[in-house]
Amino acid sequence: MKDIIRLEKICRDFYVGGETVHALRDVSFTIREGEFVTIMGTSGSGKSTLLNTLGCLDTPTSGEYYLDGTAVRNMGKNERAVLRNRKIGFVFQNYNLLPKTTAVENVELPLLYNKKYNAAERRELAVKALVAVGLGDRLDHKSNQMSGGQMQRVAIARALVNEPAVILADEATGNLDTRTSYEILVLFQKLFREGRTIIFVTHNPDISKYSSRTIRLSDGRVVSDVENNRICNAADDLAALPVNND
């Protein structure tokens, strides 16, 4: 399996009011293709900074970051924008769908910033991605006509549509109730089994048992990095939930 992500001694310092805050200190790890990694940490542990770095939204102060073989640290803003467009699929806690816009149009959005696709291809790929997340029957529903779970599925479809090297999920179940959270986790596990690389950033320890590997951050450092040999099946746990849970 090839390396999708390789971090080498990443440091990220912020200068706030004359003081230096070390958000990340010497973070190094490698994520290979097909892994489902949860990055865990409490508030202030540096996980948001790490996510921004992994997502090429931010550049490290020092250290080297290779995304799918490309060195990111010295890239300019525009180059990173293109890289995000081609290699990364983001899933956010609050979905970030465009308001009053249909599911298909939301999913097409990343392809709009890639001249390679024409309108017909964009729609075709968007429909395919929506079918993959189980929303084949809600293509033309507008974002404000959908439930939280459905919106998050649309967001996941949007993250899939450009066939990214890695899917970055930021507290993707944070705004959902327990049952819907499990449904989303089932979806992530399905994507994992299909061989996609997923990084799931969360502060919720329950999620780590459904992933293949857990990296724990504390105070800007990696404090543990363990493979999970007994991955729980989210679908089983979903079925075991009491029906009137919510």
Binding site: N78, A81, N85
Partner: protein
């Protein structure tokens, strides 16, 4: 990001906020419409004044006696007797650029016919006057050279005079009317010319041979005015120069001495009057231009609100691969769409209201294509100019902060 996609996004954004988009557009609509209407009205009055002046005879040149100093006292031009019949006669023979020339003496007084009377002015002139001032004989005939020689007591009357004196519809031809007790036989009626642009009734007059007015009414030998026309409007200046030189020779004025006469051409009057309307046009257009500017500021304001409101959307677009330039283009395009659509509606509304002004208030209008093109171009530039800063702000947002903006 292709142009058509940009337009789709901008259209959708406006569609999501129809009322706001419309109100923003309204600023531009009113601005453009008022610029076009104001220019149409301004240009319309200018055209109508020019037309009136050319009807009065655009190549007309008037020579008046000039004021003079006598013992340090500036005398009124009316008291001067510097224009003589010899001047008139020499102009006929010597001026190449002058096609018609007529002396002019006039007297005001009361006209009496039977039980009716009316105040009017009698103009003593030569037949050339008719060509210069564009008067036409409607009924009867013009007096002859013989009448001038004999200072015959004949006259032609204007329509207003006819209406006052012959109120019962009697035919004025051949009737004898009295002007200050002097009897005149009416040999012709003038075609109506109506009022001129200065509100003077051009039909309230009678005309008679200048010799008659000079000898029988005023008892003078000098002329009050000589009126001529240049061979064409474009030769007016040459004609004025020629006349000046001739009169200076006649009056033996040499070197730097002041003229004892005053030559004015209709061209001067025309430029004087149109400069007034030009000034008005500029003022009206400036006021309208300011409203266009205010409309532009409205766009800027709304675009700023829009950028703030859509910070999360901008953050999202950036995180999924939009470059700064894509965001800039998106917002700039939106403001251009507002201003261009507003501009188009404004052009239609402006042309429409100019036509309404013309049809309902019977005010002369003239819509010049450049005013339409100019105001449309200005509003497009306004859209770009006032959209630029908000779009720039949007493009320079940090995606990390923008995506988490609440």
């Amino acid at each position: 990001m292709t142009i058509s996609n940009l337009f789709r996004i901008a259209f959708k954004a406006l569609n999501n906020n129809k009322m706001r988009g419309f109100l923003t557009m309204l600023g531009i609509i009113i601005g453009v419409a008022s610029v076009i209407t104001m220019l149409a009205i301004g240009q319309g009055s200018k055209k109508s004044i020019q037309k009136e002046i050319s009807e009065m005879g655009s190549n007309m040149i008037m020579i008046h006696p000039g004021g003079d100093m006598r013992g340090g006292v500036r005398l009124s031009a009316d008291d001067m007797e510097s224009l003589k019949l010899e001047d008139y006669n020499s102009i006929i023979g010597k001026c190449r650029y002058v096609s018609y020339v007529s002396p002019c003496v006039n007297a005001a007084g009361q006209l009496i016919y039977g039980a009716n009377n009316t105040p009017t002015t009698v103009y003593g002139i030569a037949p050339d006057y008719m060509e210069i001032r564009k008067y036409k004989v409607e009924d009867g005939m013009m007096f002859s050279e013989q009448d001038i020689k004999t200072a015959a007591k004949v006259c032609l009357v204007g329509k207003t005079v006819v209406d006052e004196l012959f109120s019962d519809g009697e035919n004025p031809l051949g009737k004898v009317i009295r002007f200050n007790k002097i009897p005149f036989r009416i040999i012709g009626v003038l075609e109506s010319k109506g009022y001129n642009s200065m509100g003077m009734d051009q039909d309230d007059l009678i005309i008679a041979p200048y010799t008659t007015v000079q000898k029988r009414i005023l008892a003078i030998t000098h002329l009050q005015e000589i009126i001529c026309s240049a061979v064409s409007e474009s030769f007016t200046e040459e004609a004025v120069d020629e006349l000046t030189a001739l009169l200076r020779t006649n009056h033996r004025i040499s070197g730097n001495e002041e003229d004892d006469f005053d030559i004015r051409s209709q061209q001067e009057l025309s430029s004087m009057m149109t400069s007034t309307t030009d000034m008005m046009t500029i003022l009206l257009a400036a006021v309208a231009g300011i409203s266009l500017l205010v409309g532009g500021i409205g766009i800027m304001n709304i675009m700023y609100v829009s950028v703030t409101e859509r910070t999360r959307e901008i953050g999202l677009r950036m995180s999924i691969g939009a470059k700064g330039i894509d965001i800039l283009a998106q917002f700039l395009n939106e403001s251009i769409l507002i201003s261009v659509t507003g501009g188009l509606i404004g052009v239609l509304l402006g042309v429409g209201s100019a036509i309404v002004v013309n049809k309902i208030f019977l005010y002369p209008i003239y819509i010049q294509s450049w005013s339409v093109i100019l105001s449309f171009a200005v509003c497009t530039v306004t859209g770009i100019f006032f959209g630029w800063y908000p779009a720039r702000k949007a493009a320079s947002l940090d995606p990390i902060e923008a995506i988490r903006y609440e």
